[in-house]
Symmetry: C2
């Protein structure tokens, strides 16, 4: 067969504020690949199907000299992240043509050959669930929500949880886990459309933080026993100011600071960490995998299939719009899990 | 016997910034007490000997409408806190004249009759140790240091600890516990005299934060695996900025904010809580008593008597100078545990 196009989304420039499609990332169609003859060297050839666009990726769009928990994207090379694909050819034992695989370092390309196949995971999707579900509710965001909630929330029936970005891929699962644990849930979101969604998934008190004062809502509906933080900044400060004694703060992310160029934030209520004896936990979900992966796979796909945990996906069709998808999750234009559909099968 | 003077240090006015002797607190000698005839109603008559002046007391000098973890001082009534006294008369079983007792709510007076004796603890001091030691290294500061260190530090040999207010009553014990656990210890203090003391007790790197940039020292000597925070504010921010992956932050106090009238602090490095997967623990030591009190009493008095843990006391002689003692611990004029000596026996 003749070579086919192998389009790519390349990381081209470190952004100062929000990532800019066409500047931070550039869609490049100059490369081709011969699917029949390309050398595999013991690896597999993957046709990329679904890619995950996540807030944390902003941290990888940085100067390579700035250290952080995950390596920076390489300038001139494709973006990479969690994704799902289909095996086209295989020289690896246990994987064959047609198998569906997930990979945490899937490149934002049409076809790829991973150098190291040890982290390639073969999926056995439940019938009736879209493959894209394995990017979101059953993928990294679902695992993030479930594993950290189990590890850190110490949820008690009748207590109050506050979840920020509650209509997001992680937040929406957290809201539902808190409800399953019998908690009252206060949810903050960034649009009226998301208010509707957060109510549908069971949050008791929902507000649009752009039009309603977070501090006022928490003062009325708190104090907060568990805070799930995806936001940081003034929302974290308001949560501290309205925390209950012995509150648990789960620090999943601080998106309010990701695009602000390192601007300091002004905090009034840090002393509450001491006076309310707060436990605060930053975490990276991979650290919790070995403890919770089996339990997660037993519990969550079933709850999702039965509709007991609802989820929402926001699909971007076409790798050429990948840059827009990366921006959307920074600005908050997505409702639910942002998935880039490179190909459906 | 004729009535004798019963002098008191009264809480007279909520301070805006630092507490002012003679204004925030007033020494009052107008009261008398007849030691032979005063009614005990089943309680005991205590002659107050040693009183503890602690940074946390600033939090109790507040408007009674502001809620916090410990009740506010009552305007017009004596200051109270941890103290040691001698039983003059007793109607309580198990306590007799001459017994030495400690009490967490000892009034800053010469004589007192506690309404509720259930928290009065009879001491059996080790020979050769001053009673004042039971205010400091073997008292609340020593317990604070020991119990929270054991609970939260997860110390590993060869790791690096950073201790703020390292010449203080709590900090000095923490420095030595970290050294006993085989850690490298970076210590910050507020005067050159204190630099000397922190070196004497074994800290590896000691600096005066008033003349040396905390950020620079930590960048050179870090990253930090355990941070013992007595300070908050910019010191906490610098510690976050130089934290190691999986660092533990023990939030004992944030004195930098106690006298600033609630001014917000500017934080650059909160995101490190997420990216370095930091566990942060606020605590009140009483919560750890049941778990560690026995162990503490077995371990610490012995180590102190043998000189394996050094401690330093800063005595203020005379209840009439109690207001100055309360100010000293806010400004940091004390080196080691500040004890007010009301009477020696």
């Amino acid at each position: 067969m003749a070579p086919v196009r192998n389009a790519k989304l390349l990381f081209k420039e470190v952004p100062k504020g929000y990532p800019e499609p066409g500047k931070t990332t550039v869609y490049d169609t100059s490369d081709t690949i011969d699917l029949d003859t390309v050398a595999l060297n013991g690896s597999i050839l993957i046709k990329v199907l679904y890619l995950s666009a996540d807030p944390y990726m902003r941290g990888k769009m940085r100067d390579p000299n700035t250290k952080s928990y995950s390596p920076p994207f390489t300038l001139g090379a494709p973006i990479d992240g969690f994704g799902i694909g289909k095996v086209v050819r295989s020289e690896k034992e246990g994987l064959k043509e047609g198998d569906i695989v997930s990979y945490h370092a899937m490149q934002w390309v049409e076809y790829m050959i991973p150098e190291d196949t040890s982290y390639i995971e073969k999926l056995d999707p439940l019938p009736g669930l879209s493959l894209s579900t394995y990017i979101g509710a059953i993928g990294m965001p679902g695992k993030t929500a479930y594993m950290a909630w189990k590890e850190y929330a110490k949820a008690k029936k009748g207590e109050t949880a506050f979840v920020s970005t509650a209509a997001g891929a992680v937040g929406a699962i957290v809201v539902q886990l808190a409800k399953l644990d019998g908690m009252k849930v206060i949810a903050s979101v960034g649009s009226d459309e998301k208010v509707q969604f957060a109510k549908e998934i069971g949050a008791d008190v929902v507000f649009n933080y752009k039009t309603t004062d977070t501090e006022e809502v928490l003062a009325k509906e708190g104090p907060i026993d568990v805070y799930w933080d995806n936001v940081g900044g003034s929302t974290l400060d308001a949560a501290l100011g309205n925390s209950a004694v012995l509150a648990r703060f789960i620090e999943c992310g601080m998106i309010s600071g990701y695009n602000s160029g390192g601007q300091p934030v002004s905090m009034k209520n840090l002393m509450k960490i001491v006076s309310n004896q707060i436990d605060m936990h930053g975490f990276i979900v991979s650290r919790l995998f070995s403890k919770y992966n089996k339990e997660f796979n037993e519990v969550i796909p079933k709850l999702i299939k039965e509709g007991k945990i609802k989820h929402n996906e926001d699909l971007t069709k076409g790798l050429e719009f990948g840059g827009e998808a990366l921006l959307d999750v920074q600005v908050g234009n997505n409702t639910g899990k942002k998935v880039v559909v490179v190909a459906e099968n």
